[in-house]
């Protein structure tokens, strides 16, 4: 393992991401809409307007139903003690429904950056030069993983901090404690998100190193959104509840998967195999 080489590759790719408007602007816009604007608007509407407090069957019924069935007692009590339907909805949204939105954003970011780094190298025909240089394939992969992991986490954490500030500023009178500073969010942000992002990146690199073209890699990337969509649906419908402990287990499982994936990638992508399959 050569740290200088890994760093050189990662730094070059990260610079390339942030110097290409076509890559980073969509990422920023997506983060802004899903992780800042969306929770911000919901907080504003729920707490500073009466829109959600109209006695309307359509809104009240499903929310009450979810609250009553809620598996964790503490959460159920907090929710029922909240005075207005609007604040109940905001509280519920910030605790559960925002998680999949962050997950989705991080997934998309990791796919964009990963395909920019590995498949992009192939597309620009520079992979050949790199394979002709004294870099081990392992270092190359590791540099590529970092090149995608760092910007993705950076974007995700930035939007998390801004979201936390915006939502708490608007909602500070409505709730006793600050939102997002609980075990669930912390485990999610600092354990599950890195694990998911890493998993996506490794999978993307594995696929890029196998398929011939950029398009194929992109199509495959689309499949990775499916589990996220599944979580959104189940979270929103209260089908199952991601407690901090379950989140921790999910993260751990993913990290184990990542270690296996990394081994698999380096074992089955020796320089000559990679070269013969990728360079024409």
């Amino acid at each position: 393992m050569n740290k200088h080489i890994i760093k050189a590759i990662a730094v070059k790719d990260i610079k390339s991401i942030f110097s290409s408007k076509k890559v980073w602007i969509p990422m920023v816009i997506l983060s802004f809409i899903l992780c800042i604007a969306c929770p911000g608007v919901i907080t504003y509407v729920g707490i500073h307007t009466d829109l959600l407090n109209q006695p309307s069957e359509d809104i009240e019924k499903p929310i009450q139903a979810v609250i009553e069935q809620f598996p964790a007692e503490e959460m159920r009590n907090t929710l029922s003690e909240l005075p207005t339907l609007g604040s109940k909805f905001v509280y519920y949204f910030m605790h559960f429904m925002l998680i999949p939105l962050f997950l989705m954003t991080a997934t998309i970011h990791s796919m964009v950056t990963a395909s920019n780094s590995f498949a992009g190298e192939k597309e620009r025909k520079t992979l050949e030069t790199l394979l002709f240089s004294p870099i081990s394939v392992y270092d190359l992969f590791l540099g590529k993983v970092l090149a995608s992991l760092i910007p993705t986490l950076f974007m995700t954490y930035c939007s998390f901090i801004i979201n936390m500030a915006v939502v708490n500023l608007m909602a500070n009178k409505a709730f006793d404690s600050l939102l997002f500073l609980d075990a669930g969010w912390m485990v999610f942000m600092f354990w599950v998100i890195p694990a998911v992002v890493l998993f996506n990146i490794l999978l993307n690199i594995l696929v890029s190193a196998r398929v011939k073209s950029f398009q194929e890699a992109q199509q495959f990337g689309g499949i990775m959104i499916l589990p996220v969509v599944g979580i959104i649906i189940s979270q929103a419908s209260g089908l199952f509840f991601l407690s901090p402990f379950i989140l921790f287990l999910i993260g751990t499982g993913l990290f184990i998967g990542n270690a296996l994936l990394l081994r698999f990638i380096t074992r089955f992508n020796q320089r000559n195999a990679l070269f013969e399959s990728q360079i024409h």
Binding site: H4, R124, E128
Partner: protein
């Protein structure tokens, strides 16, 4: 004293059952410039890849810098530079940033080397411009600088003059000659563009359909293939017959006659004889260009 920097013995390469190289054996002297010549698809690029250990031979022995590319490729790659067919640079980065990146990859920490090479290749003024905006010739020169960053002992060039105009070709040839002399770099050039190359190569390998059909210095090859010598003489001589001194002749316009001789030894007596009668301004062997040798060799191996 080990003077052979590259040696291959009976190297065979098969990809998906197709034979791409067969029984390739040759050696390259330290400090020489060797031309690897052959038509499209002959296997030139494949040979360079094998020598660098980025792909493995199916059979045979290869030794580069005394190392086996299959097991010690890393050592070979550390000590050799390559210019691949596609210039392989980052177009969204400046010339400087490209070279800076590759110097990190090759473990070169000295920025003076980058500045020196940029200067050598007349790129210092454009070092902060994006490589994407460069002409083909400029990109080739950046690639050459990239290949020389780490003071390699060996330089592999795959079609270094492809896509260049005559000026560009001349300047690349000029730089290569200098690198070879000043930095004592052994160079292997793959090409199918033959003229220009003959001025710098010490010896040649002729490759066709994955086989080495001929090899040697230009002198060796001329000895072997130049059975007839065509000598073009610029002279005031007038010949009415179809031959002179028994040598067939051909008029090539005002004051120019081409003689067909059977060996170089006949040149001096012929010229002496003409000089007794009249003046001579110049005389040149016209069928000794690399290109004519190439066609001759390729022709004899057409079965």
């Amino acid at each position: 004293m080990e003077t052979k920097i590259i040696e291959t013995m009976d190297v065979t390469k098969k990809i998906n059952g197709h034979s791409i190289l067969a029984d390739v054996s040759f050696s390259i002297e330290k400090g020489s410039i060797t031309g690897l010549l052959g038509p499209n698809g002959a296997g030139k690029t494949t040979i360079i890849r094998l020598l660098n250990g980025v792909i493995d031979a199916s059979h045979g022995r290869i030794s580069v810098l005394g190392k086996n590319p299959k097991t010690e490729g890393e050592e070979i790659r550390k000590n050799s530079g390559i210019v691949t067919e596609s210039a392989s640079l980052y177009h969204d980065m400046t010339a400087w940033d490209n070279l800076k990146f590759f110097s990190r990859i090759y473990g070169v920490n000295d920025e003076r080397r980058i500045t020196y090479l940029l200067d050598q290749f007349d790129l210092l003024e454009v070092k902060d411009k994006l490589v994407g905006t460069f002409s083909t010739g400029m990109k080739k020169r950046v690639s050459l600088a990239k290949a020389l960053l780490h003071n390699p002992k060996l330089l592999f060039l795959d079609e270094p003059t492809n896509g260049l105009d005559p000026d560009g070709i001349n300047s690349v040839i000029y730089y290569l000659d200098r690198v070879n002399k000043e930095e004592d770099v052994t160079i292997l050039i793959c090409s199918h563009v033959l003229h220009q190359l003959e001025h710098i190569c010490d010896s040649y390998l002729f490759l066709k359909k994955g086989r080495i059909i001929e090899k040697g210095t230009k002198h060796d090859l001329e000895e072997k293939y130049l059975k007839k010598i065509r000598l073009l003489v610029e002279t005031g001589l007038t010949v009415k017959e179809r031959s002179y001194m028994g040598y067939p002749i051909e008029h090539k316009g005002q004051g120019r006659i081409e003689f067909s001789l059977s060996s170089k030894d006949e040149i001096a007596p012929l010229l002496r004889e003409i000089l007794k009668e009249t003046w001579i301004h110049s005389s040149v062997i016209t069928n000794r260009s690399l290109e004519s040798l190439y066609f001759k060799i390729a022709g004899e191996h057409n079965e």
